[in-house]
Subunit: 313 residues, 2 copies
Amino acid sequence: MVLPIDPCFEDIVAAAGRIAPYIRRTPVLVGDGDWSGIHFKCENLQAIGAFKARGACNAVFSLPERVAARGVVTHSSGNHAAALARAARLRGVPAYIVMPRGAPAIKRAAVEYWGGTVTECEPTLAAREAIAAALCERTGGVLVHPYDDPDVIAGQGTALLELTEEIAEPEIVLVPVGGGGLLAGTALTARARWPGARVIGVEPIGADDAARSWSSGVLQPQLAPATMADGLRGALSERTLRLARAQVDDIVTVSEDAIATAMRQVFERLKLVVEPSAAVPMAALLEGRVTGARAAMILSGGNVDLNQLPWVK
Amino acid sequence: MVLPIDPCFEDIVAAAGRIAPYIRRTPVLVGDGDWSGIHFKCENLQAIGAFKARGACNAVFSLPERVAARGVVTHSSGNHAAALARAARLRGVPAYIVMPRGAPAIKRAAVEYWGGTVTECEPTLAAREAIAAALCERTGGVLVHPYDDPDVIAGQGTALLELTEEIAEPEIVLVPVGGGGLLAGTALTARARWPGARVIGVEPIGADDAARSWSSGVLQPQLAPATMADGLRGALSERTLRLARAQVDDIVTVSEDAIATAMRQVFERLKLVVEPSAAVPMAALLEGRVTGARAAMILSGGNVDLNQLPWVK
């Protein structure tokens, strides 16, 4: 029986030590001109091109040897899948990844590059969960959920931990919200290290379950997410909602136009390739959904199809 | 009368101290997979999006106050223009920039953003030089040539100086070649700090004056450059040829296809926005024009029109 233990800041500090050999300490950029008060933690430059390497490594390397040896399982259409396949490869154990039909080719290729075994399923949450459960049953592998997992959340919190070691406390910390793992981990770190900063989650208006859940305090479904930010189509879990309610100051939403504009500006001004999800916090500043002269944000990932950039055609 | 004094390594060390307040210490990335032996000095993340900020700052801040006050002049279609406008703004003096008609809009906008005064001219070297000379005459400003200038060359050498402080000596150092300023500065630094490394210039086959000049020892004209690498269409000067002959181990050429492929791979694998010129050294590795398990290269700039990416349509 697994107790529903929530992670705390000490878990994040422990995670940072555990995963240090397996992840990159990513650079921090500061903007110029009207962006000169903004610091960007470049997790698009992280291994596998996204912060998800942190949580996956922490989960995999936290497992006892006998348990890890049976392998790990997850269902994910995105960066967590590649991150878990890589972490398993680094530990020398198998990874079984359930991906919905129609997942971006670049993301499936990344899983296979790291030696993960892909099983396709129907693109519904129920199908994903059922097939993952069957894989766990068959292989004896451990499910590593993309965000509803204390070790994953603790790992994600290490990105902000590094940032707090490099820059002074800002007024606001902006985080993209999908399932809420990065938000929860980041907020735990911010509360401990930057108690005066406001922590604000940002999500696409077309996938606003987190904003609705956070406001009402009751988990709201994400029925038909409609956003180019493919990393943010998931819904909070009871655990990530509980952590967000306890630790986060606000969750705001942004339009698709603002996401596309922010994404292009990050390419042009910062010379960084980011995926739409990573541009969502910048979109909140561009749309005036949040204000603060000194802001810090996590550029969550850079895995984007370069033939499908939103400003081309 | 100006003596034709060539820069030396001590000038590069002095330049590094002089320009430190005005430039960024750019991050260094290391590749993974089959790129795991390659280190990338990310000058695309430099101020104005290119290493040219270094040479321009060194030239402008080397001027005596009375001379600087009259302003600086250059002819450039590219990153040196923005870099000089910015350096002049930082010193509080005027910048007069001669640009050929048809220069990329993004590059003209950058000059104007930094307060530079743009004068258009016909797109020939003779027209550029004549108008720049007339501007110097009229304003009393000092010409800061994009590369045929010892202070500019010394400034460009500081990028590799930073890299030598961060990584072990590689087998090869790869540098894109246009007018040869970055090549000369980089080679001077490499000779002093990494005496065992081979320094190799790389240029597009459609703008191969440097390869021809370097091989023959006699300055060859660059009559009709044909390459997407707009930063590399210039020709060596007597000075940069002399320095290259003395310091550089080889100059190789690459195809346009390889440049486009390398550029896309840098976007996809490193998550960095680079201009075609910056991808030219990587193209040499992809085409097998150079070999070496441990390579270092300077990603020279990131100022590219995102509507004109070579792989789109």
